[in-house]
Amino acid sequence: MAKDVEFPARDESRRKFLNWFLGTTTGAFIFSVLYPVSRYLIPPKVEESTARTVTLPVKPQEVKPNSGQIFRFGSQPAILINTPAGELKAFSAVCTHLACIVQYRSDINHIWCACHNGHFDLNGKNIEGPPPKPLEEYAVNVRGDQVVVSKRG
């Protein structure tokens, strides 16, 4: 058995330096792997649809009173409603609770989300159930045979 050799203090500091060097190199290596991987996992930003106005593929007289239908507003769903009073209204169809798509309930004249039973009135206001905020309302204009929906403000 070899006897333990006593290293002079100079060697101890060399050992310290080597440990530090090994540690930082390992750290740098791990970082240089993890950084690109984590960036890779984050999806790139896709150009958001900036549509502020959309012309619907329906004629105003085709939308029955007391009914609603979903349409595309850019990349997002929106809902067009003909109220029992015969007024055309449009809102974002994305529920403010957990982002399900709402529908019009002709039996109670509410905009309703089937996922968690959220109710909105015909002004888009959250009146019952879990939704914390009202639905965003869009401006509806009838130009001759066309229904044009646009963002407000």
Binding site: F71, S75, H97, G129, P132
Partner: protein, 365 residues
């Protein structure tokens, strides 16, 4: 020089020289399973493992026909269900076995919980088991989207919106999960990768750790069987317990086959991002209690958004389950030791009640 071994053949001896079968045999003979009035609960761990193996096998079979894109996913499963011989059966077994596995897992979790199997030195066994439950739920959640049907689409919209309500990191997490701002084909591809590659890799490691720890520490005796004569009673794992385990597996297989054959999984309507959520939409039963909680919470509670409070509540419950071995120690004072039992009973009661409400409350009122 060859010694004659009357018990083993030539092949066994050949293999033993190379991989050390004798050590494995010794290990198997050494393993004992405690016998007491709660022994029956031990079978649910093995049953979960059995159902997991079925998941792996049927999952691999499904991979051969499934196409992970928004344009083809639904159609590929339609093809699988109608054209491929026994395609409906393989998919049905995969879906039912997933449900039964999570059910067996819950029983395993709560039986370990009430038998206080998490106490020192088994804290890491308990925590790795909790991790496996989390992974199983993640498997369930990601797999649910893959058919790209209406229910799956909305379940994923809601499910990925939930981490989105967390302050600060929420929107980032949501984007990371969805692979974009909305649930689209990008989400489907992402979930597919998570379901068939990332989660299996993580489960292999965590399950390996869990099983290793169970081998290392042996099965835990509940407090009621720690003293007196019952502290000594046990049976050999091999073959006595293993054979009983196999009977349990056979029962699970019977139930699974009956469910898969008589109640085949449906496919429903194809996902459409421009259709309202269908009336009566529900998640899988194991998410029902959470779903119903979110449904019943009002928009605002004391100025905080209800859904945020709900999500934080789920987080706290999960955290309590993880840290319970450090609260309920053998040396802890009485009230702390009783805390875990009371917490477990309340949790079960809550889960059962909310699940019951979820299935019985009218979806339109």
């Amino acid at each position: 020089m060859e010694t004659r071994d009357p018990k083993h053949g030539k092949l066994w001896l050949w293999l033993d020289e190379r991989i050390g079968l004798k050590e494995i045999e010794k290990l198997a003979r050494k393993k004992e399973v405690p016998v007491h009035r709660h022994t029956a609960w031990y079978y649910f761990g093995g049953m979960t493992l059995f159902l997991f193996m079925i998941q792996v096998a049927t999952g691999i079979l499904l991979l051969l026909y499934y196409r992970p894109s928004a344009g083809e996913a639904y159609e590929s499963i339609q093809f699988l269900m109608t054209e491929v011989q026994f395609g409906w059966l393989v998919r049905s077994i995969h879906a039912w076995s997933a449900n039964l596995m999570i059910f067996a897992m819950f029983i395993h979790l709560f039986s370990a919980f009430f038998m206080k199997a998490y106490r020192s030195p088994r804290e890491l066994t308990w925590i790795s088991g909790g991790g496996l439950l989390g992974l199983a739920l993640a498997f369930g959640f990601t797999g649910y989207l893959l058919p790209w049907n209406e229910l799956a689409f909305f379940a994923t919209r809601v499910g990925t919106e939930i981490p989105g309500v967390v302050p600060v990191a929420g929107p980032f997490l949501r984007r990371l999960l969805r692979g974009g701002e909305d649930v689209t084909g990008a989400t489907l591809t992402r979930f597919y990768g998570i379901h068939v590659a990332i989660l299996p890799a993580i489960v292999t490691i965590v399950l390996g750790l869990h099983l290793f720890l169970v081998q290392k520490h042996g099965m835990s005796r509940p407090p009621s069987a720690e003293a007196g004569d019952s502290a000594k009673r046990s049976m050999p794992f091999f073959p006595n317990f293993l054979l009983r385990d196999l009977v349990g597996w056979l029962c699970a297989l019977g139930v699974l086959a009956a469910l898969a054959a008589y109640y085949p999984t449906e496919l429903g309507k194809k996902a459409d991002a421009f259709q309202p959520a269908p009336i009566g939409i529900k998640p899988e039963w194991y998410f029902m209690a959470m779903f119903q909680t979110l449904k019943l919470l009002p928009g605002h509670i004391l100025g905080i958004e209800g859904e945020l409070l709900g999500v934080l509540g789920f987080g706290v419950i999960g955290l309590l389950l993880v840290v319970v071995p450090f609260i309920d120690k053998r040396t802890a004072p009485g009230p702390l030791r009783r805390f875990s039992t009371v917490f477990g009973i309340i949790l079960i009661f809550y889960l059962v009640l909310l699940t019951y409400l979820g299935y019985t409350m009218s979806p339109t009122k």
